[in-house]
Symmetry: C2
Subunit: 147 residues, 2 copies
DNA sequence: GGTATTGTATACTATATTAGTCATAATAGT
DNA sequence: ACTATTATGACTAATATAGTATACAATACC
């Protein structure tokens, strides 16, 4: 039940982006440096977020990335869906047809409940929530830079 | 965020075992056949459950496996822990030392909440719950055999 | 005691996934 | 045109998954 680095790093990237929104567009290179993620890998992470309409990119000189919509409209469930695919612990939860037991399988019912519980957390957390939490944790301006 | 087949099959194995408790010990071979899991693989799944004190095995002729404690005392959280290891979506939730950001990281806080939510479902579901659900679903005696 | 039956343990393997790196193309500003 | 920047796709090494195969150990029954 692990989150891959895509989901981990991608969420951190979005939070970093949200925290630097004023200076948009933000350079991937800067995010990479602050978050200590290689630029090449970060490029892979940003692609699905752009395709999913969460991030907007500006190519060329003076370019960079910015949030495509207000941070309070970006739910973590959306982000994880784009980066990791469905959160369902097993395939049959999304598509009963993958297993002939689906109808009668009670373990499947539990995996579905598990999925609902996870979704409850992720769908109720927005990027804005994360930004606020970060500011609450580190009230000093600029303090987040060296982390 | 996928559950591996160990967790999936292992849970099904335990449910099957609980449903056939009266005829203990139950043959792994029979469970394998009913659940359509190869015997060889099932042997891998049962090992950590025995080590974890959930399943008791009897070697030799007329041997087999049985539940080591009442099904109402077997929580799914225990089962998944034994079969999949920690349910934590990222390592830093269990051990802050793996990442220097842990103290100040708000994404980590979310992953921790995610873990709590998952654990809430799994810790509140016992094998007995699954048995009851199965019986509710398939009231006809013997109906569970051909699934 | 011999033998069939059953679980135990270890080694091996094929495939898929993860976590990147690297080179190159496209685009925008100067 | 030149430079800065993101976009894309090919490639790769390491690890995890999902098994299979084989030999071994314990036990019950005759």
């Amino acid at each position: 039940m692990k989150l891959s680095t895509k989901g981990q790093y991608g969420t951190r990237m979005l939070l970093d982006l949200a925290l630097h929104e004023e200076e948009a567009p933000v350079l991937l290179k800067d995010i990479a440096q602050r978050q200590q993620i290689s630029l090449g890998y970060l490029e892979h992470l940003v692609t699905p977020l752009i395709a999913g309409g969460i991030v907007r990119s500006t190519r060329g000189a003076k370019g960079g990335v910015s949030l495509a919509k207000p941070s309070e409209q970006i739910k973590l469930s959306e982000v994880i869906q784009l980066l990791e695919g469905s959160i369902a612990p097993v395939a049959c939860v999304n598509d009963p047809a993958v297993c002939s037991r689906s109808e009668s399988c009670v373990t499947r019912d539990i995996w579905d409940e598990l999925k609902q519980a996870m979704d409850g957390v992720l769908a109720s957390t927005t990027l804005q929530n994360l930004v606020q939490r970060q500011k609450d944790k580190q009230p000093l301006e600029g303090a987040m830079y060296y982390i």
